[in-house]
């Protein structure tokens, strides 16, 4: 019964986000999801996409040259993890270069870009912000856990980029606006 209520709440929230945050589903399928900053939040977004039944491929280190137009939407899971960067064998500087090249290629291919920041306040700071800014400038839509926007950075960047920003209270609530963004 509890799960049924939660599913109903999920569906209701999905509808609410569809109208309040992003009035129409705009993102084409399939998606390509990558980690900008190599945090484990990437794994959480894969679960969200699975549960929303959005077809996708996932590559935390995908490079611009791999974008060939087969994926129609780029999902960027943004947030730096020094541990994750270390484990992936990539420096923060090289990760930024990869990100900028990805964004440039995505623009050329006219891909939709969805920025997801779901790590909250713990996934902010100088290194994360370095990745957040270029991603938000290029984004079509952003979904953030509200505690990551306590200083208003995402709100400000979304306003500058003239994109919709969905703020959710926790990561499990990010599934509704993400699912609603896909046609």
């Amino acid at each position: 019964m509890k799960r049924f209520i939660l599913v109903c709440a999920f569906v209701a929230a999905l509808g609410a986000y569809g109208f309040a945050q992003q009035s129409t589903a705009f993102a084409e399928k399939p998606a390509l999801v990558t980690a900008i900053g190599q945090s484990a939040d990437f794994e959480m977004i894969k679960v969200l996409l699975n549960r929303a039944k959005v077809p996708y491929t996932a590559d935390p280190l995908v490079k611009a040259e791999k974008l060939d137009g087969s994926a129609k939407t780029l999902v960027l899971v943004v947030g730096a993890s020094s541990k994750g960067l270390g484990a992936a064998g990539i420096s923060a500087e090289a990760e930024l270069v990869r990100t900028q090249a990805l964004l440039k290629k995505a623009k050329e291919l006219k891909l939709s870009i969805i920025v997801m920041h779901v790590g909250g306040a713990a996934r902010r700071g100088a290194m994360s912000d370095t990745f957040i800014k270029p991603c938000m400038e290029a984004a079509s839509y952003a979904i953030v856990v509200a505690s990551g926007d306590e200083d208003g950075l995402f709100t400000e960047l979304a306003a500058k980029a003239k994109i919709s920003l969905a703020k959710v209270d926790r990561i499990s609530s990010a599934g509704a606006p993400l699912a609603a963004a896909f046609k």
Partner: protein, 365 residues
């Protein structure tokens, strides 16, 4: 002697008698240390064994520790739960104890070792070389249950120096398979830097070896190592998963949020940092390997010496134990859905909110 002083003397005698009974030195005929294992299993217990069953070199040493087996009527997978890798991280021990005293397995098996480092649990040395948070805390905690007040040992992060058999390396500890810079010498006695263990080294390394042999011999499918970290720190409220099973962890964390409003952070094992359970169990056995961290108020850097590790208002012990157990249950559910032939089903746990709100007392014998 007045009535009051007689009563005081009697109480003192009873206390001494009680402490005498509970001396960590109490051993069985094989020299196995018994009193750290005053746990009262549920009727679902199938049998008990010892870590020395997997590495006889542990027999008669303070590193030997009791293993509890719960087997269901239907075949399935095997879950392993370890508490007390760091014996000052009491929620890990008590989560394992609560399992032992309540568990009923319907499908598959559950194997529990509540005192992974049995030497550390009796180690009350306040070693100056160890950071204060690793040994701060009471010697015992007490919990009122339906059978009266029960006492549980609160230990140290490290194996007792006197038990290790080899002195801490003066140049610092380097895991034999690591190319990283040396850690502090006392880390030689840290069980969670010792996996996969060795038989030609200190007691800590032998314990690690026995645990690895258990995981391999028992064909464990899902393995949990329960820990605690400083409340408010980066590690607190986290699940660490071996990269090979991080998707299982991610799915479980969503379910925890949806079902209980419990948010845990997720982190993959750093495969370059050797010796940790989630890293080595995942790489060296078939098991999907996980580690959970709950917030222990005594482990905060500037915590007072008398920090209340049981009734802390922000992070009471019941809440921390509930996090470990329900994180495990969520992982097991995701694993079982994906591996129907290795399903693990168990019951008997108190409700999440009940345990978090009422504490452990009503659920211990």
């Amino acid at each position: 002697m007045s009535t009051r002083s007689s009563f005081t003397a009697l109480a003192a005698v009873l206390l001494l008698f009680s402490l005498g009974i509970q001396s960590p030195a109490a051993q069985d005929l094989h020299g196995r240390y018994l009193i750290n294992h005053d746990y009262r299993p549920s009727e679902g217990l199938s049998r008990t064994g010892w870590l020395s069953d997997y590495y006889p070199g542990l027999l008669g040493t303070p590193g030997d520790s009791k293993v509890y087996y719960f087997e269901g009527d239907k075949p399935g997978g095997t879950l392993f739960v370890g508490g007390g890798t760091h014996a000052n991280e009491i929620a890990g021990i008590m989560a394992a104890v609560l399992l032992i005293e309540n568990l009923k397995v319907e499908t598959g098996r559950v194997i529990v070792v509540p005192n992974m480092n049995n030497s550390a649990i009796g180690n009350q040395e306040r070693e100056p070389e160890l950071p204060a948070y690793t040994t701060r805390g009471p010697s015992w905690i007490s919990i009122t249950t339906s059978s009266g007040v029960r006492y549980f040992k609160y230990g140290s992060r490290a194996t007792n120096k006197a038990h290790q058999g080899i002195a801490d390396p003066s140049g610092g500890y380097v895991h034999p398979d690591s190319s990283e810079a040396p850690l502090a010498g006392w880390e030689f006695r840290n069980l969670n830097r010792a996996y996969p263990g060795r038989t030609d080294s200190g007691l800590t390394q032998k314990i690690a070896y026995a645990v690895m042999q258990l995981l391999i011999k028992e064909k464990v499918d899902v393995a949990f190592d329960y820990h605690e970290a400083d409340a408010g720190g980066r590690l607190a409220n986290m699940m660490v998963a071996n990269p090979k099973n991080i998707e299982t962890a991610a799915g479980a964390l969503f379910d925890l949020e949806l079902d209980y409003g419990l948010s845990l952070k997720l982190e993959p094992s750093n495969m370059e940092f050797r010796g940790l359970s989630h890293r080595e169990w995942g790489a060296g056995t078939e098991a999907e390997a996980f580690l959970t961290e709950t917030p222990n108020p005594a482990m905060v850097a500037d915590a007072p010496p008398d920090a209340d590790v049981v009734n802390d208002p922000e992070n009471p012990l019941g809440s921390r134990v509930a996090k470990h157990l329900y994180a495990t249950a969520a992982v097991v559910r995701i694993f079982s859905d994906g591996h129907p032939d290795k399903a693990i089903q168990f019951s008997g746990l108190p409700g999440y909110q009940d345990l978090a709100g009422n504490g452990l007392g009503p659920y211990l014998k």
